[in-house]
Assembly symmetry: C2
Homo-oligomer: 328 residues x 2
């Protein structure tokens, strides 16, 4: 089958088209003809050799896909040949075919294209994990979502607002990104380059008014995050793109405000965890997706031959929402 492979022969690694054996579905697996895959920042790290795939996973990039079931393993009960499915992958999305455990796959709702379906798994499951499993989100809470226009950010805003009926506050660095956040359901969108987010929140929502924070920034936001959290507040780290070193940290608010601080990535979780997560996400959010209340945010669709251009866009942090590859 065709696949995009990493060419390490030049100074910087590059993606090049190649041929590899088509995978064979295991007992509980589906062989899927991929119609669309979506890009993730992790792809760039893996390309540069800094983020090896988990044991047993395909070494081909690509953490999610949408496509058509081509063949089913002997124990598969939920899907048939010809079904349109999408789901999370441990790797292998930048290819013509992939295999996926039937419990990791979801039926594509009628109102979604392959491109839209491919834009869902990684960001929505990551956001759902952060809000529900890690953040223990409860109805009507106030939730602060940093990097609100990122892929996970756009998913988290919608899930927090539409599924959990929460008041959502978000930060982003460009005015058009703030607009997107407001359209998706945020009540307040703060340009972190122009304003101190904690001061704006304190003024608009009150001091210590945030129940749950989803952060991707890390050290630079530590102090303001901790300050704005209320009693029993939770701070969830999905990334620390702004750095990890905090000078002169004060632990006392953790005790005084009974805070919870957690970090997590999704990729290195065991398969069983991801199956449960997929199932939970499905039961909480799929009806909202089918009704068009929640929609994936797509920045641009690229032909798979233009993958380098697409990678560059992510590297430059130019995208609001997901970047899709099609035409494998």
């Amino acid at each position: 089958m065709k696949a995009l492979l990493i060419d390490n022969s030049k100074e910087k690694p590059e993606m090049i088209p190649g041929e590899v054996p088509t995978p064979e579905p295991g007992e509980y697996e589906l062989l899927v003809k991929i119609e669309a895959t979506a890009l993730n920042r992790a792809d760039l790290l893996q390309k540069s050799g800094n983020y090896p795939p988990p044991e047993g996973a395909s070494t081909i990039l690509g953490l999610e896909m949408a496509g058509v079931v081509e063949e089913t393993g002997p124990e598969v009960t939920r899907y048939d040949k010809g079904d349109e499915v999408f789901g999370l992958l441990p790797g292998g999305g930048y290819a013509e075919y992939c295999v996926i455990h039937e419990k990791m796959a979801m039926h594509i709702p009628e109102n979604l294209s392959f491109e839209e379906a491919a834009a869902i798994p990684e960001v929505f499951l990551t956001a759902f994990q952060a809000l529900k499993m890690l953040g223990n989100i409860k109805k009507n809470e106030t939730v602060l979502i940093h990097a609100g226009a990122s892929g996970v950010g756009t998913a988290a805003i919608q899930l927090a607002n539409k599924v959990f009926n929460c008041r959502v506050i978000t930060t982003a660095g460009r005015d058009e990104k703030l607009e997107t956040c407001l359209k998706l359901g945020a009540e307040l969108a703060i340009n972190y380059k122009k304003q101190d987010f904690s001061k704006v929140i304190e003024k608009e929502a009150g001091p210590k008014s945030v129940d749950l924070i989803i952060d991707f920034v890390g050290a630079p936001y530590w102090e303001n995050n901790i300050a704005i959290l209320t009693m029993d507040g939770r701070l969830i780290y999905l990334s620390m793109l702004g750095g990890t070193g905090v000078e002169n940290m004060n632990l006392l608010p953790i005790l005084r405000k009974r805070l919870t601080i957690k970090g997590s990535t999704l990729r290195n979780r065991p398969a069983e965890y991801k199956m449960n997560l997929t199932s939970d996400f499905h039961s909480y959010a799929m009806d909202h997706i089918e009704e068009g209340i929640i929609r994936p945010v797509i920045h641009q669709v690229f032909d798979w031959h233009d993958v380098e251009q697409a990678h560059q866009m992510i590297k430059n942090n130019e995208n609001t929402g997901k970047i899709i590859l099609t035409g494998m």
Copy 2:
């Protein structure tokens, strides 16, 4: 009724015997003739004016008691006059009588004296909250309990080892305290004054080998605590007696190891939380207490007139286990 009151007329506040009105039981409350109460570090803070009681609570010191039901409110169904009960109080233990919601009270098992029963609520419920509710302890994990010879420490060692079948590692500052920890079920007890606990654990149990830490020390242990935690490890703060300021903290392990860091006190939790906690503790641990597998650790029993001497003992950190007051 008789009660110990705070005398602020001298340079340092002192406890003095006094007379106050006997409380009246509410609809769901018991009036209990107190036979024994136990001391807590919080008592000293409250005495010095630094730890005001929660709203609605008695201003009399004393967070736990054991005694005999003298009268029951009209809606009480679980207890009768003459029943021997013990339980957590939001205040009011240093007195002849107290009132307690029936859902906060527990029957005293036959094998326990009033002194022993009074030694249970605060430390065992605090330890249970930390291990189970906050720390999500699972069977066969490795648990590090700092200040293992403290009241909460002795309770946590026993609960972790006897109820949850965990491997318990503990720290303390004196050799006789280490002995106590080992007798209670710790597999490894480290004198933190003589050895770096994280190096000992690394040597004895392996690097990154601890699933759950219960800490009372705070900043001085931060780095070593984080270092010794394994994937999905949890660090629970019940106090930060050693300080709260950490210089040059690195957040990265929180993300990499998917850590959870939480802080909590028990006292300022709402009554409903404490009722649920009492009920959960009862169902998990009471059979172990009735069978004598878990026992409260009592350092010394004082007559209530010697309360100042008893307070001094806590202040000097001399006790291994609880200090009890009787004879009100």
